[in-house]
Amino acid sequence: MSTISRWFSKRDDAAIAAAEQASLRSDRFRLEREGDWRRLEAIVARIEAGSVRGISDDDLVALPALYRTLVSSLSVARDTTLDAATLAYLEGLAQRAWFVVYGPEVGFFGWLRRFFGGGWSAAVRSLGADILTTLAIMIAGTVIGWLLVASNSDWFYAFMPAEPGDPRVPGASHAALYGSLFGKTGKTGLSVFAAYLMSHNASVSIMCFALGFAFGLPTILLVIQNTVQLGAILWLYHGQGLTLDVIGWLSVHGTTELFALMLSGACGIHIGRAMAFPGQRTILEAASQAGRRTATVMTGVVLMLIVAGLLEGFARQLIDATAPRLMVGGFMLAWWLFYFFAFGRRGAVR
């Protein structure tokens, strides 16, 4: 029996009897409410242990009321009792109960539903300016890569460290380059390749995001470094008249992967910008707002890179012609553009 249940039923005789034995008024106050505190403590401990299912409905319904009773007990106790141990217990319990009562608003599946049902798209749209900035940087990086390699082909080795057996070097023949784009349908080990690409690219994009913390500058460098390689590759294949073929080869996964790179770069720049120019907010406030907003986008980026890894590992090797490759790449691009910029505009969930 407890104070709350006593509102509706007879008074708890045992607690009252115990309380009457106490000679101090503050101890009587405590003894009358102790049952509620212990009940709350038991519920909180259960929830902390992760077993919400093991809690009875009565207890779950009573939790908010028990928490408020505790809060009021603590306020009264602070003004009336000098029992340090009891005060410390109440403060500790209030803190633990606060975390439980004001815990995460939604569970994992609720969060997923919100994420796919418009949360992700809305977060991407909120980065509009940063996405455009990153896109500009990426285009500039590609052009720079192309121009540098065109002016002096030694640059190629600086961007793409030569690996033994890689036919993709300046001066390679048309046949060698063509061979690197087509005729790999019989290859095994595709899934391993896909998994490797996924984990590598995800690590790069996470780094791209994290480096935003250093005011975004390393993020920009990382984006440039990746797109300069793209420019160099394009130049190489252009020299042998394979421009469209290489674009097709890249676009299968590239539209998804480069989109993901663009988003992670935008996230990094967004954080860097918020920290460098916080405006009316404190730097800490600005940084944490930017961080929470971009975290949603970054979760999506990792998912996109899983898709890109699958496309790169399987689809690109299995589709052995330029036109269908371009179609797959184009379709993916259209899908992402639709999902981010047209989907969930009206009923956007936060």
Binding site: A18, Q21, A22, S23, L24, R25, S26, W37, E48, G50, V71, L74, S75, D79, T80, L82, A84, A85, T86, A88, Y89, E91, L93, Q95, R96, W98, F99, V100, Y102, P104, E105, V106, F108, T188, G189, S191, V192, A194, A195, M198, S199, S203, F209, A210, L211, F213, A214, I271, L284, E285, A287, S288, A290, G291, R292, R293, A295, T296, M298, T299
Partner: protein, 320 residues
């Protein structure tokens, strides 16, 4: 005239320095204690060890399965087995990526807001309060953000320091610059008051201690609290003048001594009883300290709490 000299600052204990107050929606001022940097490093080491063991265990299991399927000589076996082998390789790559990245995320998203390492050391993550001190909720986004930065803070500096050591004295200026640059991120928690690491800054979180206090017994129950000794049957009654000597600070010291269950308690009881007797001019006997102190504690607390209700408080013996 040494007027410009600042008065000596009261030295705070480490625990006091880490104390913060948040204001809940109910208007309650809730004290928190930030986790010490030492316990955070400890928790991190435990987590890294556990995550490493998980990866290792996965690897050993995969190798065991591969052996069991007779994959020692992949080239000579059938395509079916080769596909299985490929699947195992994929699982391995995924485990290498997922375990270190998801370990912290998964556990911190739970109701305890703590990884196993943090749980062991009694700390958890929480959202930093808003500028006016009002408490805010921990969100999934915040947990994701704080863990995405771990790569940059932990693995990159480790990589750079590793490469700096392997290159030795020949490392370039660029190498050293990078080392310092990443060193700043790695040492970030030591450079601010709230021990925030980069991830905490980005996510708006901090790490706090989880209180684990049991409710102690009520002190004013039973005969001895009424002033009647169980041992000798003596009645202890103190006059208001005898109680007026001490304040709240001394009351709490006395409470600690009475609640203390360690071996040193009898000695402490004797010392405190002796001190009080000297102060109030009683001649102290031996053997009945506990009853004496419980009686004194209860009566002093009654007096101070009455004063409290009337709005007069006495902080310690020097006060008022």
């Amino acid at each position: 005239m040494a007027r410009w000299k600042r008065p000596p600052r009261k030295r705070q204990s480490s625990k006091e320095r880490r104390g913060r107050v948040i204001l809940t929606a109910e208007g309650l001022r809730l004290p928190l204690t930030l986790a010490s940097r030492g316990s955070r490093v400890g928790a991190l080491l435990i987590d890294l060890t556990l995550a490493f063991m998980t990866v290792l265990l996965t690897g050993v299991t995969l190798v065991y399965v591969a052996r069991g399927l007779g994959m020692d000589h992949v080239k000579q076996t059938s395509p079916g087995v080769r596909h299985m082998f490929e699947a195992l390789q994929v699982l391995w790559i995924i485990a290498l990526f997922v375990v270190p990245n998801a370990w912290f995320l998964w556990f911190e998203l739970g109701a305890r807001g703590a990884t196993p390492g943090k749980r062991l050391l009694g700390i958890r993550i929480a959202a930093r309060p808003a500028r006016d001190g009002s408490a805010t909720r921990l969100t999934a986004e915040a947990v994701i953000a704080r863990n995405l930065l771990r790569n940059m803070e932990l693995f990159m500096p480790a990589l750079f320091i590793g490469s700096a050591i392997s290159v030795g004295a020949d490392s370039t200026l660029a190498g050293w610059t990078a080392l310092v640059w990443f060193g700043i991120f790695a040492l970030f928690p030591f450079l601010n008051r709230d021990a925030l690491r980069g991830g905490d800054v980005i996510a708006g979180t901090w790490v706090v201690e989880v209180p684990r206090r049991k409710l102690g017994a009520a002190m004013s129950l039973g005969q001895s609290a009424q002033g009647v000794s169980q041992v000798t049957g003596a009645h202890y009654r103190f006059s208001q003048a005898e109680l007026a000597i001490y304040g709240e600070y001394e009351l709490q010291v006395l409470e600690r001594v009475l609640r203390d269950a360690s071996k040193s308690q009898p000695k402490a009881l004797q010392d405190v009883a002796q001190a009080i007797c000297t102060k109030i001019g009683w001649s102290s006997g031996a053997g009945d300290e506990r009853a004496f102190l419980e009686a004194y504690y209860t009566q002093l607390r009654a007096r101070l709490e009455t004063g409290m209700r009337l709005g007069t408080r006495k902080a310690d013996k020097h006060d008022g």
